[in-house]
Structure formats: structure tokens, C-alpha cells
């Protein structure tokens, strides 16, 4: 068996599905954030795989992945500082407790 594009795509689909499951069902807001990271990575695998198999002479896919990683970093930093801020106010990291709009 020789590796082809759809192997990678299937893997990324599975990871994406797991990520959706986590994002929908985790009670802990950190778990939700981590699931979102999983979904980002599924997309990244797709981008690099398309780049490698369909347009190997150019690197646009990889360039976009760099952007995704950078934005994920920005997202994580802001998200996590929000989580800490919320944790300080309501002393909990569970999403169902986060039902007030002001701290």
C-alpha cells in the first residue's frame, strides 16, 4: 500500500470529529479549548497534505499552516487569560457555572 492523499484526509476527518465531540461535551472550559486545538490541527494536516500531494512545487499550504499556528497561539493566549480571569471571579472552570455577564 502506498500513501495517498485520502489517507491523510481520513485521519484528519477523524481527528476533527473527535475535536467536535470534545468541544460539544466537555464541562471544563479548558477541555473545550483543547478540543478546539485538536480541530485546528486536523485542518492543518489537511492543508499540508493538499500542499504535498496536489501542489508540491509551491508551499502555500504550509504558509497558511504557519498563520494558523500563529493565530492559534493568539487565540490560546487570550482565551487562557480570560479563563484565568473568570476563574478568579467565580472560582470554577465549568462552563455551566459561567452564566453571569458581569464579574
Amino acid at each position: 500500500m502506498i500513501l495517498s492523499l485520502h489517507h491523510f484526509l481520513m485521519l484528519s476527518a477523524i481527528i476533527f470529529g473527535i475535536g467536535i465531540y470534545g468541544a460539544l461535551t466537555r464541562r471544563n472550559i479548558l477541555g473545550v479549548l483543547m478540543s478546539i486545538e485538536l480541530m485546528f490541527n486536523a485542518a492543518n494536516i489537511n492543508l499540508v497534505a493538499f500542499n504535498h500531494f496536489l501542489y508540491p512545487e509551491r508551499v502555500w499550504g504550509q504558509g497558511i499552516v504557519i498563520f494558523v499556528i500563529t493565530l492559534a497561539a493568539a487565540e490560546a493566549v487570550v482565551g487562557l487569560s480570560l479563563v484565568l480571569s473568570i476563574y478568579r471571579t467565580i472560582k470554577s472552570v465549568y462552563t455551566e457555572k459561567m452564566n453571569i455577564l458581569h464579574g
Binding site: I2, L3, S4, L5, H6, H7, F8, L9, L11, A13, I14, I15, F16, G17, I18, G19, Y21, G22, L24, T25, R26, R27, L30, G31, L33, M34, S35, E37, L38, N41, N44, I45, V48, A49, H52, F53, L54, E57, R58, V59, W60, Q62, G63, V65, I66, F67, T70, A72, A73, A74, A76, V77, V78, L80, S81, L84, Y87, R88, V93, G103
Partner: protein, 170 residues
């Protein structure tokens, strides 16, 4: 021989990645989940190497594993106590969530199998650092600058949210 070796490596990495991802979304201890996610991101970096994207793989390790995940673990450590994993970690809609994600996965797989079946690599993997660099500062220079602005905004925002109320007043 070389091809089957690569397939074997891919198989191992795929199994690892799926297993680690399941740990991420099901583990009772958030810290263990975060560790599993870190390992999963490392495996993704391995997949990037397999796909000939060496620079991206190194960036993945440097930024994701060495940066984002450390901050993530940091927050986990600040907001949890070691005994918190006694709590239930999924909410009551987990059945619907599982069904929905299964549906999405199946749809994606069916679609991918239909459209992208049997496409093989035409060029062997080659070092990409130089070309990625040219791309980022050439064709993609505007998004590149935009992203740097986003990062700055994120930095300011993170510092603001990180301050306690008392310090914000000052």
C-alpha cells in the same frame, strides 16, 4: 520497501494520534488531557515531516508544544487541584454530541473518499525553509503583517485580562 516503511510509520502515527485525541476529550483529569494533547501535537509534527513540511513541523513543535501547550498546562495548574479529576467531565448532551460528531466525520470521510481517492505524491519531500520564507515575505506579506497586528492585539488583550481588578483600576 521505502514506501511500505513510510506507510507503516504513518499507520503507527495515525493510531497514536487517534488514541491520544480520544484521551484528550475523555480524560477525567484535565491535566492528563492536556499532556495527551501535547503528545498529539507532537505526532502531528511527525505527520508534517512525513509530508515533507520540515519547517512547519519544527514551528509546530516550537510554538504549539513549547509555547501554547505550556501556557495551557500553566492555566490548568493554576485553576485545578490534583483531586479535581473526581468530578464528571462531560455534560448531559454527550450522546447528541457524539452522534453529531460521528455524522460530521462520516460525511467528511465519504466526501474525501469520493473526491480525492488515489492521488499520489509526484515530488519527493525537499527542504522548504527557504521557499516558505520567500512566500511569507513575498506573496503573503500583507497577511503576514496583519497577523503580526493580531498578535500585538492578543498580547495587549492577554495582559489586560491577566491583571486583577485592582491592578486594572490603576
Amino acid at each position: 520497501m521505502e514506501q511500505s516503511l513510510l506507510t507503516l510509520i504513518f499507520g503507527v502515527m495515525a493510531a497514536l494520534l487517534i488514541g491520544l485525541s480520544i484521551v484528550v476529550v475523555t480524560s477525567r483529569s484535565v491535566f492528563r488531557g492536556a499532556i495527551a494533547l501535547t503528545a498529539a501535537l507532537g505526532v502531528v509534527a511527525g505527520l508534517f515531516v512525513l509530508l515533507g513540511a520540515d519547517f512547519v513541523a519544527a514551528s509546530q513543535l516550537l510554538i504549539y508544544v513549547g509555547g501554547i501547550m505550556i501556557i495551557m498546562l500553566f492555566v490548568v495548574m493554576l485553576s485545578q487541584r490534583p483531586r479535581d479529576h473526581m468530578d464528571r467531565q462531560t455534560n448531559e448532551q454527550w450522546v447528541w454530541g457524539a452522534l453529531f460528531s460521528l455524522a460530521v466525520t462520516c460525511a467528511l470521510i465519504v466526501q474525501f473518499r469520493a473526491v480525492y481517492r488515489g492521488i499520489f505524491a509526484t515530488l519527493p519531500p525537499a527542504p522548504t525553509t527557504a521557499s516558505v520564507g520567500r512566500l511569507l515575505l513575498g506573496d503573503m506579506v500583507i497577511p503576514f503583517e496583519a497577523v503580526s497586528l493580531v498578535l500585538l492585539a492578543a498580547l495587549v488583550g492577554a495582559v489586560y485580562f491577566g491583571l486583577s481588578k485592582k491592578e486594572r483600576g490603576r
